[in-house]
């Protein structure tokens, strides 16, 4: 397995699109923290409380989640587009090992970059907003939560990429599942509709960022529900990877 991990690390680091997508993710986090920080500062009457300052600094996550999902899609769909998947499968004919290697390397890189970018965004927001008091534990929790959430969005992309294989189709599906459908689901009628909406992909997953709850779920249970959605994409993708001709 260590051989596969080294190989996947070489693959992911040696392509410009990886580096660029990660840079874009970090810039989105920082940029929105600065933008919203200044806008909030000018509109607020009196000082902004510490908790609000932290949360407003993480607004870039809405878009950073999509750039991470795109990267996740590309990790595998670019191999299908170029035909490089055949080279990969000739080198590693045990297809689940290949997929596992991709997942491990991608998640490791994503976690590091997303936690650091989130921490940077919080720091920028706090510098601008100068809240009267900030709890260090809350800063750490929010940075880790945001990092975990964004890395999960990337993994969602990787699962959809494995499943769909075509870059545009997989990216559109990722946008639908991460951004569009969760919003649409809030319009579902009745208590049943409300429960579905609260369990729907990022509606559940985002709770880890805010640390709050949405009625049905808390931060960790919400994150677990989001991971279950991702697991479905990955498992179906893995089954198809095993069965399909490359």
């Amino acid at each position: 397995m260590i051989n596969i991990l080294r190989s996947e690390w070489t693959k992911i680091r040696s392509v410009r699109s990886t580096v660029w997508t990660l840079v874009v993710t970090a810039l989105l986090m920082l940029g929105f923290a600065v933008l919203i920080g200044f806008s909030l500062k000018s509109s607020a009457q009196g000082p902004v409380p510490g908790g609000d300052a932290i949360m407003s600094s993480l607004n870039g996550g809405i878009f950073a989640s999509l750039s991470m999902a795109t990267l996740g899609v590309l990790v595998i769909s670019s191999e299908y587009r170029t035909g490089g998947i055949r080279t990969s499968l000739m080198a590693v004919p045990k297809r689940l090992s290949l997929l596992t290697g991709k997942i491990v390397v991608f998640v490791a890189i994503s976690l590091v970059v997303c936690v650091v970018a989130s921490a940077g965004a919080i720091a920028a927001g706090l510098v601008i907003l100068q809240p009267p008091s900030v709890e260090a534990s809350e800063v750490v929790r929010a940075a880790l939560g945001s990092g975990l959430y964004l890395a999960a969005c990337g993994l969602f992309g990787l699962g959809l990429g494995t499943l769909i294989r075509h870059t545009p189709g997989a990216i559109v599906s990722a946008i639908a599942l991460i951004m569009v459908l969760p919003t649409v689901s809030t319009q579902l009628p009745g208590t049943w509709g409300r429960t579905v909406s609260e369990h729907f992909t990022t509606n559940a997953g985002q709770l880890i960022v805010s640390g709050g709850s949405n009625g049905s779920l808390g931060p960790w249970s919400g994150y677990a529900v989001y991971l279950a959605w991702i697991a479905v994409a990955l498992i179906v993708g893995a089954v198809l990877l095993q069965r399909r001709d490359a």
């Binding site: 051989n3 596969i4 080294r6 190989s7 996947e8 070489t10 693959k11 040696s14 392509v15 410009r16 699109s17 670019s78 191999e79 170029t82 035909g83 490089g84 055949r86 080279t87 990969s88 499968l89 000739m90 080198a91 590693v92 004919p93 045990k94 069965r243 001709d245 490359a246």
Partner: protein, 296 residues
């Protein structure tokens, strides 16, 4: 030991049969040509050998085992399928490095194969900008990474210039001379005539011939005498056994001396009287004419 053994191998895509009940052995120490018209099922067979496509029936073993069960497959088998199937954004060195690492092949081997194929100078360039010839060399470098005893090349000379063709031909001969198994597909008989020792010919996914190159020529074709004359119609009438074409007469039942004597006696002038020896190309056309997917 037999390097590659296909047993009743078949592959269907829906109602289309790509490969049907194909059995053959590929032996080490020689170049085995895998020949057939376009669409005959050569690439499909190669993908099944490499575990990329799942056979609909039958099996194929590499070194006695299914490809997917090889522990470090690239140390046993090297293959070039489609030279352009690489991520264009990666440098040649990184492309090879990722492949080497996956099979625990030491990093320094990357430099060695870059030297073998003559790409050392461009190792840091992105492969998206490579010409077809350079891509072909990169693909061969990847195939050689694990110093494998079995090598598969799918149409390796397609689109190459004469220099490149000669280089690949020489390399394949050298690899076979080292005792390795070289299995190379082509739709060009003339190419195989100069490279291969043994031939496996398929058409419409079925085995047509499994024979040495020499036997192949001898068995399925014969030479003929080409006669041209300003008075061709009269010559044809005289010779009787010829087959008349617009600008020449083709004779298989008589030799040049017999025809020459006959026409000299009749006082008929000849422009040309040539024995055309049997060629692999002719033998191949003869064999595959019934199995062409599209006839022109």
């Amino acid at each position: 030991m037999t390097a590659i053994r296909a047993t009743s191998l078949s592959k269907r895509y829906g109602a289309t049969v790509a490969v049907a009940d194909l059995s053959f052995d590929v032996e080490p120490g020689q170049v085995t040509g895998f020949l057939g018209p376009n669409g005959a099922g050569k690439s499909t067979t190669m993908r099944m050998i490499l575990g990329l496509d799942r056979p609909s029936g039958g099996s194929v073993l590499v070194g006695g085992r299914p490809y997917a069960e090889l522990r470090h497959p690239l140390r046993k088998v090297g293959a070039l399928l489609d030279a352009k199937a690489v991520h264009g954004g990666r440098s040649a060195r990184n492309h090879l490095l990722a492949i080497a690492q996956s099979n625990g092949i030491p990093d320094r081997r990357v430099g060695e194969v870059l030297d073998i194929v003559g790409l050392r100078e461009v190792a840091k360039r992105r492969v998206g900008g490579f010409s077809l010839g350079m891509s072909q060399r990169l693909g061969i470098a990847a195939a050689l990474l694990g110093d494998p005893e079995i090598l598969l090349f799918d149409e390796p000379v397609n689109g190459l210039d004469p220099d490149g063709i000669l280089w690949i031909r020489t390399l394949m001969r050298k690899l076979a001379a080292e005792g390795r198994t070289v299995f190379v597909s082509s739709h060009l008989m003339s190419e195989m005539a100069q490279t291969a020792d043994h031939l496996i010919v398929i058409g419409r996914g079925r085995l047509i011939a499994d024979t040495s190159v020499r036997e192949f020529i001898g068995r399925s074709s014969q030479g003929y005498v080409r006669v041209r004359s300003p008075r061709l119609a009269e010559v044809a009438e005289l010779v009787k056994v010829g087959e008349l074409h617009p600008d020449h007469l083709r004779v298989t039942a008589m030799n040049t001396l017999e025809i020459g004597t006959l026409t000299a006696r009749a006082g008929l002038p000849l422009e040309e009287l040539t024995f055309v020896p049997p060629s692999l190309e002719a033998a191949y056309m003869e064999l595959t004419k019934d199995s062409l997917e599209f006839s022109s």
